[in-house]
């Protein structure tokens, strides 16, 4: 209802119409996933199917209502639907996108370089990047301290089997 309510403003000439393209991501994702899920259980016994058919059918029903409502709102020119490719190129340059990419790289490298070293590098790179390169030395000190706290808590205290790298081997004397 709220998206339709916002259209009251959208109808005014000086107010830009609300772009609803983003709102389609979750419903489309959920419909694709539901259809994939149903494909995986077609030949399964009923015990494997019953929940998916109950939940999946409600989800598809609600998603269809969503699509119909948005289509009607589009036809009434209350909202707009357009994917701005220029916005994508702008979004790529934002700190959020860079931070998401650095976070993903952290996951990739933690298995190669080990927990402590990767965490130090991740902290330093992301903190410096988010602060536009200001005070890199102070951030390096914070990064080392925080990563070592992580080492003490996760590896030394609770013996979590996090990926080990050069620092962990140095500390345990296994180089």
């Amino acid at each position: 209802m709220s998206d339709l309510n916002t259209n009251v403003d959208a109808g005014q000439p000086d107010q830009p119409k609300k772009n609803v393209a983003g709102e389609f991501i979750i419903p489309v994702l959920s419909v694709i996933f539901t259809l994939y899920y149903v494909l995986t259980i077609v030949d399964s016994p009923w015990t494997a199917q019953v929940n998916a058919f109950l939940v999946g059918s409600v989800l598809l029903f609600v998603a269809i209502i969503f699509f119909i409502r948005k289509t009607l709102a589009l036809l009434r020119h209350e909202v707009q639907f357009h994917i701005e490719f220029s916005a994508f190129s702008q979004a790529i340059k934002t700190p959020q996108t860079a931070f998401i990419v650095v976070s993903l790289l952290y996951l990739v490298f933690v298995d190669i370089l080990g927990f402590t070293l990767t965490t130090i590098i991740f902290f330093w790179v992301s903190m410096t990047m988010l602060d536009n390169g200001k005070r890199p030395v102070m951030k390096a000190v914070i990064s080392i301290i925080m990563a070592l706290i992580g080492y003490v808590v996760f590896i030394a205290m609770f013996e979590t089997r996090l990926p080990k790298g050069i620092i962990e081997h140095l500390i345990s004397g296994n180089v």
Binding site: L29, P45, A52, L59, L107, V110, F115, L130, M146, V153
Partner: protein, 501 residues
């Protein structure tokens, strides 16, 4: 040994004398509760060799204090930075985090601590007095009744979705579908696993929890540079002890709310396998249903914070009742306690109260003392803890990402779970950006598999006859209450509007 008032007084004094075990355990519990992925259960497992070396009574007191404070500790990051430490605290940030964002973190922590402590004290006292009767609750709650209990929790999706029903339902049912991933409960047929062996056991809760709440929040707050607005920052900078006292007073004024929501936790805790997550969701949903201001829930409403915190601490006493009275552990921590007791040659079940009443009742008295000591040790810390929200997101976001990713690794020690948490973080980020409620997705992920499990069990017993869900009188009563709680808010709202007009 006669069990009378003087016995309980002696027991209380004796447990107080063990403060040197209780207080360090409280602080350890706070830490493990606050770190996502760690829990009282796996900490006790790590420290199991030490508990074997301790005297059985000291070992049990250590485990109890750690268990209770970890429940309380899980609420701290949930309120301050939107990271529930455990699934039991998943409903806490719904109103706790908006309070912190308004600069009321100190007050929110104080409310959370007081409601947890009162909830814990009250349910422990009730457990001490009514153990034999409460233990029987588990006997009456079969799969049919549990289906309805799960639906109580899941109906919270409708409440969360109140602002935009269709989008809320899409998010909730998407969560339920995600929760259905994994081998089916009867024939172990893999479903929706996308070929990942790591998903055969279903979607692990911690990666979903930290991904949807913490990682997506870490991505979101970079835009603002701070968890709070400038006004909120000055509010928290100018806060003094009076904020903590105000939180205490606010909670004490709502003593009835704390009482009945903690009782929900106690009753659900007694049911084996139910747990704190269900209790806190059900308590939140019921609190909202009977509130005069349901529209305020989700915006930093005091009662929306009290309900899940009182309930998940009510669960602690509840989970120990089946272990102590019947010898059936009601949860992971209770199961580990049973191992320790068996190792030390202490019986569980009815024999415990005949042979060692000091231990049987002592466990609950230790819980009572732990909550009392928590009031003295943790409550004053709320002022300093709330300062976490003043730390710039430049430092906080990377720390949240790294430590929550590691937290999602801890329970199963699969690197896959870190990627899964990241994936949930991206879903959560998109959901927040496009106006979908991440809490609705999470409720589905947490409660969906449990609902399926109980429903399948009921259907298997009746050869697939769905009418089995309406075959028991207790179940039908619960159905009736469920329908009433769903219909009642609309009815009350209309009535209020009419009386206003």
């Amino acid at each position: 040994m006669e069990v009378n008032t003087s016995f309980f007084i002696d027991l209380f004094i004796h447990q107080l004398e063990l403060w040197w075990v209780v207080i360090p355990s409280i602080f350890l519990g706070l830490i493990v509760g606050a770190i996502p992925g760690f829990s009282a259960a796996n900490t006790i497992i790590v420290l199991l060799p030490f508990t074997f070396l301790m005297d059985v009574e000291v070992g049990l007191v250590f485990m109890i204090a750690l268990y209770c404070s970890s429940r309380l500790g899980a609420g701290i990051p949930a309120i301050l930075v939107n990271i529930p430490g455990t699934a039991g605290a998943a409903a806490t940030p719904l109103d706790g985090y908006p309070m912190a964002k308004q600069g009321l973190g100190q007050r929110a922590l104080s409310i959370s601590f007081v409601s947890s402590i009162i909830g814990g004290l009250l349910t422990t006292a009730i457990a001490l007095l009514t153990m034999p009767w409460l233990a029987r609750v588990g006997f009456y709650m079969h799969s049919v009744e549990m289906v309805v209990v799960m639906l109580f929790g899941i109906s919270l999706i409708a409440s969360v979705a109140a602002k935009d029903t269709i989008k809320g339902l899409i998010a909730g049912f998407f969560g339920l579908m995600i929760g259905s991933i994994g081998a089916d409960h009867v024939y172990a047929t893999p479903r929706g696993t996308m070929g990942f062996l790591e998903l055969y056991d279903g979607v692990p809760l911690i990666p979903a929890l930290v991904g949807l709440f913490a990682i997506s929040e870490a991505f979101m707050v970079i835009e603002t540079g701070s968890f709070m607005s400038k006004d909120s920052v000055s509010t928290i900078q100018n806060a003094n002890w009076s904020e903590t006292i105000k939180g205490v007073r606010i909670t004490l004024n709502r003593w009835w709310h704390v009482t009945w929501t903690s009782l929900i936790g106690l009753v659900i805790g007694v049911i084996p396998g139910a747990g704190a997550a269900i209790a806190s969701f059900v308590a939140y949903q019921q609190s909202r249903t009977f509130s005069k201001t349901p529209e305020a829930y989700g915006t930093g409403h005091v009662e929306g914070l009290i309900a899940p915190e009182a309930a998940n601490n009510g669960v602690t006493a509840g989970t120990l009742i089946p272990l102590m009275v019947l010898g059936i552990p009601g949860g992971a921590t209770a199961a580990i306690m049973m191992v320790v007791m068996q190792y030390q040659g202490v019986p569980t079940g009815p024999r415990l109260f005949m042979e060692r009443p000091d231990l049987g009742y002592g466990v609950f008295m230790a819980m009572f003392v732990s909550y009392l000591l928590m009031a003295l040790t943790i409550l004053p810390m709320s002022r300093y803890m709330s300062r976490v929200t003043l730390v710039s997101t430049i430092y906080m976001s990377p720390i949240i990402i790294a430590f929550t990713l590691v937290g999602s690794f801890v329970p199963r020690e699969y690197l896959f779970d870190m990627y899964l948490a990241f994936g949930f973080g991206i879903i959560g980020y998109i959901a927040r950006k496009t106006g979908y409620h991440v809490a609705a997705i999470l409720i589905g992920v947490i409660l969906g598999p449990l609902l399926e499990q109980y429903m399948l069990r009921a259907l298997k017993m009746s050869d697939g006859d769905p009418l089995v869900l309406f075959s028991s009188s207790l179940g039908n009563t619960l159905w009736l209450i469920l329908v009433l709680t769903l219909v009642l808010p609309t009815f009350l709202k209309k009535k209020r509007q009419r009386s206003k007009a």
